[in-house]
């Protein structure tokens, strides 16, 4: 079992949990958190290298490092692992954000409990990305969701009980749909008789699920994951949840957890049920198209930094689902790039907002101004994050958005192309709300004289932000690397839905 490299993505966090349980003081806790997250980064880098090597050697399997251990035989549940380029990208993203998040919560109160929950959450996240068994995938998904309730409810700010409750309940509601869908998939995974299976690869290989069932199960799973991906009518947990969550939780949540939604939509809903995806995509395309523009418009009038960013996440994550639903290679590559890009960028945003909030104790942009004079380092980082968000070339936002737009526009259908143009409009609206915040918050005269005594970033804050900025710039400057990494997954041979278009 331990010969498979992937299993360590779950083992390391579990070891960290054990270590944290033994810790006595804050220094030990920090040491464990930093060592563990460094180990995770190292591990994901190693997986990346191995993955590229295997692919370079001509390995054309849809998934690599595949392994499976029986867990509960009567229902044929396995702990099955395996990765493709997308999972590798997601693993890298998660490990970077966990790393940056640990530094961003350097001085959190009740650190031991906080980190315990945080690491449990990341266990769920990593487990989700390596799983290819629907049941274990779902289990890890829930493991990632539940700690959120406590993290927000205990360490949050503002109206935290309400937000924590709302977030958890809405996501649980999504999970209910999802579970229905997954069980449905399981019971239709072997239409010609034989062993039922949860394994994604086997289901996809058999091309198993009956068409009429697909049209029922596809919306179930898509909505189930879509709730976490902040799809239009189900996005309202996001602003409240993000606004109340502590810094590192916001980072992980917007940066990684919301990606679970997009990843799941494509890995389960579309990968396993291509015909239904092809037929029903237009419904969800309209919904996600709405969330792209609508989220951006809503962000324009909000005055709370976290609300602005949460709505911006709605818009950007909407773009992810939008592109996935376009069902062509370029757009879907773009969707994954957008997941990476948005994850890093929004984590950076939330980290900075947390740092600013920790100093000024307000998140209202009307209560602040002229931060550039007071904390130049954080302000510059904020401008960079803003520029990444509005799609400045050289940073990650540009490449992902352009890949999505170009890809979506290659769709043969006029409806899809016109819709793409509508989605393109979001880049202008994004510019409006980003510049509005930057102008009000960072530039101009100092609003509150008490702020003049505030200090600039500390070293751990610098480390956290620099990590994220470097990652954002790396994607922005060398997009082709990530493009190739992701692209392999979307071969018509592997991805049935591409053949349909």
């Amino acid at each position: 079992m331990f010969s498979n490299i992937l299993i360590y993505f779950v083992v390391i966090p579990l070891v960290m949990l054990g270590g944290l349980a033994l810790c006595q003081n804050i220094r030990q806790i920090r040491a464990v958190a930093v060592t563990g997250s460094l180990a995770l980064i190292g591990l994901s880098a190693w997986v990346l290298a191995e993955y590229l090597e295997l692919r370079g050697a001509g390995n054309e399997d849809p998934m690599l490092f595949v392994d499976s251990w029986t867990w509960f035989a009567p229902l044929n549940i396995h702990l099955a692992v395996g990765v493709d380029g997308i999972s590798v990208a997601m693993l890298i993203l998660s490990s970077i954000i966990v790393f940056a998040g640990s530094f961003a919560s350097w001085e959190i109160k009740q650190a031991k409990e906080f980190f315990l929950w945080l690491i449990l959450l990341s266990t769920g996240v990593f487990g989700f990305f390596i799983s290819i068994d629907l049941f274990t995938m779902f289990m890890f998904y829930e493991v990632a969701l539940i700690p959120m309730y406590l993290l927000i409810g205990v360490w949050g700010s503002g109206n935290k009980n309400y937000s924590a409750m709302k977030l958890t309940l809405m996501l649980m509601g999504g999970s209910a749909f999802l579970m229905l869908g997954l069980i449905g998939i399981y019971y239709h995974s072997a239409p010609e008789g034989g062993q039922l299976t949860w394994n994604i690869l086997e289901i996809a290989n058999n091309d198993a699920i009956d068409h009429s069932w697909q049209t029922f199960l596809f919306p179930m799973t898509f909505v189930g994951f879509g709730v976490l991906g902040a799809m239009f009518p189900f996005h309202t947990w996001s602003p409240d949840g993000h606004a109340s969550a502590p810094t590192a939780v916001s980072m992980l949540h917007a940066g990684v957890l919301m990606k679970l939604g997009g990843y799941g939509c494509f890995r389960v809903a579309i990968y396993l049920m291509p015909q239904a995806a092809h037929e029903l995509s237009w419904i969800f395309l309209i919904l996600t198209g709405i969330s792209v523009v609508y989220g951006a418009f809503c962000a324009c009038v909000k005055t709370d930094l976290k609300y602005i960013n949460a709505y911006s996440s709605v818009s950007h994550c909407g773009l992810v689902l939008f592109a996935i639903l376009m069902l062509n290679e370029t757009a879907m590559t773009g969707a994954i790039m957008q997941m990476l890009s948005h994850g890093l960028m929004t984590a950076l945003f939330f980290a900075l907002i947390g740092m600013i909030y920790g100093r000024t104790h307000t998140r209202e942009i009307t209560q602040m101004g002229g931060m550039m004079q007071i904390m130049p380092y954080l302000s510059v980082c904020y401008v960079i994050a803003g520029m990444a968000s509005l799609g400045l070339p050289g940073l990650s936002g540009f490449v992902s958005e352009m890949t999505i737009f170009v890809g979506s526009f290659q769709h043969a259908d006029m409806f899809h192309r016109v819709f793409t143009i509508a989605a393109c409009c979001s880049i202008v609206i994004t510019a409006v709300y980003i510049l509005r915040v930057v102008g009000k918050l960072l530039f101009g005269p100092v609003y509150d004289e008490h702020h003049l005594s505030l200090t600039d970033a500390t070293w751990w804050e610098r480390l956290s932000t620099v990590t994220l900025i470097v990652s954002v710039a790396a994607i922005g400057c060398f997009p082709n690397f990530f493009n190739h990494l992701i692209n392999f997954t979307f071969k018509p041979a592997i991805f049935a839905v591409l053949g349909l278009n």
Partner: protein, 643 residues
């Protein structure tokens, strides 16, 4: 051609940006300034070598006697599909070589000038970092090998322009001006992007060479598809032109440029007069063979250009801020170039008048860059001396600032089109092309030229003559580092007109001689002289004539002074309609309807459990009642079923 020099041309400014941006705050002003200037100087030398080799080197003349287009290098940067690939490359052809010269020259002059102008300013290192970033982006833009590379650098120049306009970020006006500039150009870029998407969807390529070398193929590739009545190619080209309109401040997307004068004056000279704002012209010129295929697209260009030129000239006559006057003059002059490009095409794939307009446009771009930079830098010297942007605070300055005065005069003469200064030659070609295309446009543009002469000399006389206000400090000429650029650019403005431009830059790279069309030349010079004479009469010394005129045409003055209320109109659209009419209702809708629905699920559940909770009252007798009633009901049901 070897690719070392071209790589360095792009790499040096980028390195300088990173160096100054990251380590700048640790450096002294002097070191930062020196590094910036040294970097730009090296780039200047390399660019000159590259451009001059290209123009004069025999190895670039192809077998057919035409100057070749060279793709020096072209690295794949992002492959969307097999055909649609963004490459980062270096494309050398006459216009990009010319732009290399223009950009590096002006940029170097501005670097040098800023050493004096920005002395002691807070954020001096940041300023030089941004200048380097801008130079990098602009150079990348002009050497783009494909339309998407151009879009990338297009965005980057927009961002660096944003940063530089907002350089004085403590001032509200600077912040809002920078925001405005970015958003307006972003809106235009949206058009550009959609245009690219449409074009690339049909042609399956981003590559300029592929598109421009065989434009009829582009037309054919669309397969005659139409959208809402117009052919998709027209749509694509007009949308791409929208991007150009945004950057080049054509009506109705011009509103950001006057406000952009909130930035430091050298920045205005570099970005908002000489280089970035002509990116739109450059874009159209780059795609010119494709534009040639669609008469309606070029028609739109001509109309937009002509209207803008006249509008901006009118407004420039009624401004007080000298930088705003120059800004509107820039808009007007760029509109000249646009018109000129438009009239170079007959539509349906034919060039008009041997593509004279194309050459004239590029020529004017070149000369305008020089003299407009000169004028802006001169204005910077004036502002440096009197600490005000308004001509009301100036007057009689010719005595105190002789160098500035003479160089400024040369700039004014050049823009007014008086021989032998450079503006005369280029403007004459443009007018000739206009007359050849349609006499109406010709007369219209001549009128604009007359207005140009008038408002430039109005400013000149008001600043250097008129009567002298009381100065707190005696104004004096700027330091040497500021004067050198002035003198250099003045010299260039004097002689640039004699460059045989037709030998270097033509639409099909076929060299030909420039003729001065005497009737056009003489009439335009006469008109310009009359306008100058009028300006001299009105403004040489204090007299009631201007006030009288203002009183005679109050409505016209108001409209011109308020720029025909375009800003107010935009304010209305953005604030009233979009912000208050769309964003706020949407946000309300989100919080109250969507979120309300979600919350109402919780509320309904809550209410329902509240409602049934009293059943569990703790009164055991009530439970007995429920039991009894239940039992009786059950009995009743059983009875009904059984019997």
């Amino acid at each position: 051609m070897e690719s070392t020099l071209p790589i360095l041309i792009l790499a040096i400014p980028l390195t300088m940006f990173l160096l100054l941006g990251i380590a700048g705050c640790k450096m002294s002003h002097k070191l930062a300034g020196f590094l910036g200037i040294a970097g730009m100087g090296t780039t200047l030398v390399l660019s000159y070598i590259t451009a001059l080799t290209y123009f004069f080197g025999p190895e670039f003349i192809g077998a057919d006697g035409l100057r070749e287009q060279v793709t020096v290098f072209n690295w794949e940067w992002l492959a969307f599909t097999e055909n649609l690939v963004i490459s980062l490359g270096f494309f050398l052809d006459p216009i990009s070589a010319m732009m290399l010269i223009v950009i590096t020259t002006i940029s170097f002059m501005v670097h040098l000038y800023s050493l004096g102008y920005m002395e002691g300013e807070r954020g001096f290192q940041r300023y030089y970092a941004f200048l380097s970033l801008f130079s990098f982006s602009m150079l990348g833009l002009v050497v783009a090998t494909n339309i998407f590379q151009m879009y990338i650098f297009w965005e980057l120049v927009g961002a660096s322009s944003y940063l530089l306009i907002g350089f004085y970020y403590r001032l509200h006006s600077a912040v809002s001006a920078s925001k405005k500039a970015f958003i307006v150009t972003r809106f235009a870029d949206l058009g550009f992007l959609i245009g690219i998407l449409v074009l690339s969807y049909y042609t399956q390529t981003f590559d300029f060479v592929k598109m421009t070398s065989d434009p009829s193929w582009v037309l054919a590739s669309t397969g005659g598809a139409t959208f809402m009545g117009a052919s998709v190619l027209t749509w694509a080209l007009v949308l791409i032109f929208t991007g150009g309109m945004g950057k080049s401040a054509m009506m109705p997307l011009h509103i950001w440029l006057p406000d952009a004068m909130e930035g430091p004056t050298p920045v205005s000279a570099l970005i908002h007069a000489a280089t970035m704002v002509v990116a739109g012209v450059f874009l159209v010129a780059r795609m010119f063979p494709v534009y040639m295929m669609e008469g309606s697209a070029t028609m739109i260009i001509v109309v937009v250009g002509a209207v803008t030129a006249f509008y901006a000239a009118m407004v420039a006559c009624a401004q007080i801020d000298i930088k705003r006057i120059l800004a509107f003059s820039t808009i007007s002059q760029i509109a000249f170039m646009m018109v000129s490009l438009g009239v170079a095409s007959e539509g349906h794939g034919e060039v008009a008048h041997h593509g004279l307009g194309y050459m004239a446009s590029m020529f004017h771009l070149f000369t305008h860059a020089m003299f407009k930079a000169l004028l802006f830098l001169g204005a910077g010297a004036l502002i440096h001396a009197v600490h005000s942007n308004n001509y009301t605070a100036m007057g009689g300055l010719r005595k105190y600032m002789p160098i500035t005065h003479w160089t400024f005069l040369i700039g004014c003469l050049a823009i007014a089109g008086i021989p032998p200064f450079s503006g005369f030659f280029s403007k004459d070609e443009i007018l000739a092309a206009c007359y050849a295309w349609s006499p109406f446009i010709g007369v219209w543009m001549s009128m604009v030229a007359a207005l140009t002469a008038f408002y430039m000399f109005r400013m000149y006389y008001l600043v250097f003559w008129w009567n002298e206000p009381h100065y707190h400090h005696t104004p004096h000429d700027a330091p040497l580092s500021m004067n050198i650029p002035l003198l250099f650019l003045a010299a260039v403005s004097c002689v640039a007109g004699f460059i045989p431009f037709g030998h270097f830059v033509t639409w099909n790279r076929m060299p030909y001689d420039i003729h001065i069309e005497l009737p056009v030349a003489i009439s335009s010079v006469v008109v310009a002289l009359v306008a100058i004479a009028l300006a001299r009469h009105m403004y040489i010394k204090e007299n009631p004539l201007p006030a009288k005129m203002k009183a005679a045409l109050p409505r016209l003055w108001d409209w011109c002074h308020h720029r025909f209320y375009w800003d107010e109109l935009y304010m209305f659209i953005t604030h009233r309609i979009i912000f208050n009419g769309i964003c706020r209702p949407l946000a309300w809708f989100d919080r109250h309807i969507i979120d309300g629905t979600m919350d109402s699920f919780a509320t309904v559940t809550n209410k329902a459990s509240e409602a049934i909770r009293p059943l569990q009252s703790g009164q055991v007798q009530m439970y007995v009642w429920y039991y009894l009633i239940g039992a009786l009901l059950l009995a009743g049901v059983t009875a009904v079923c059984v019997l």
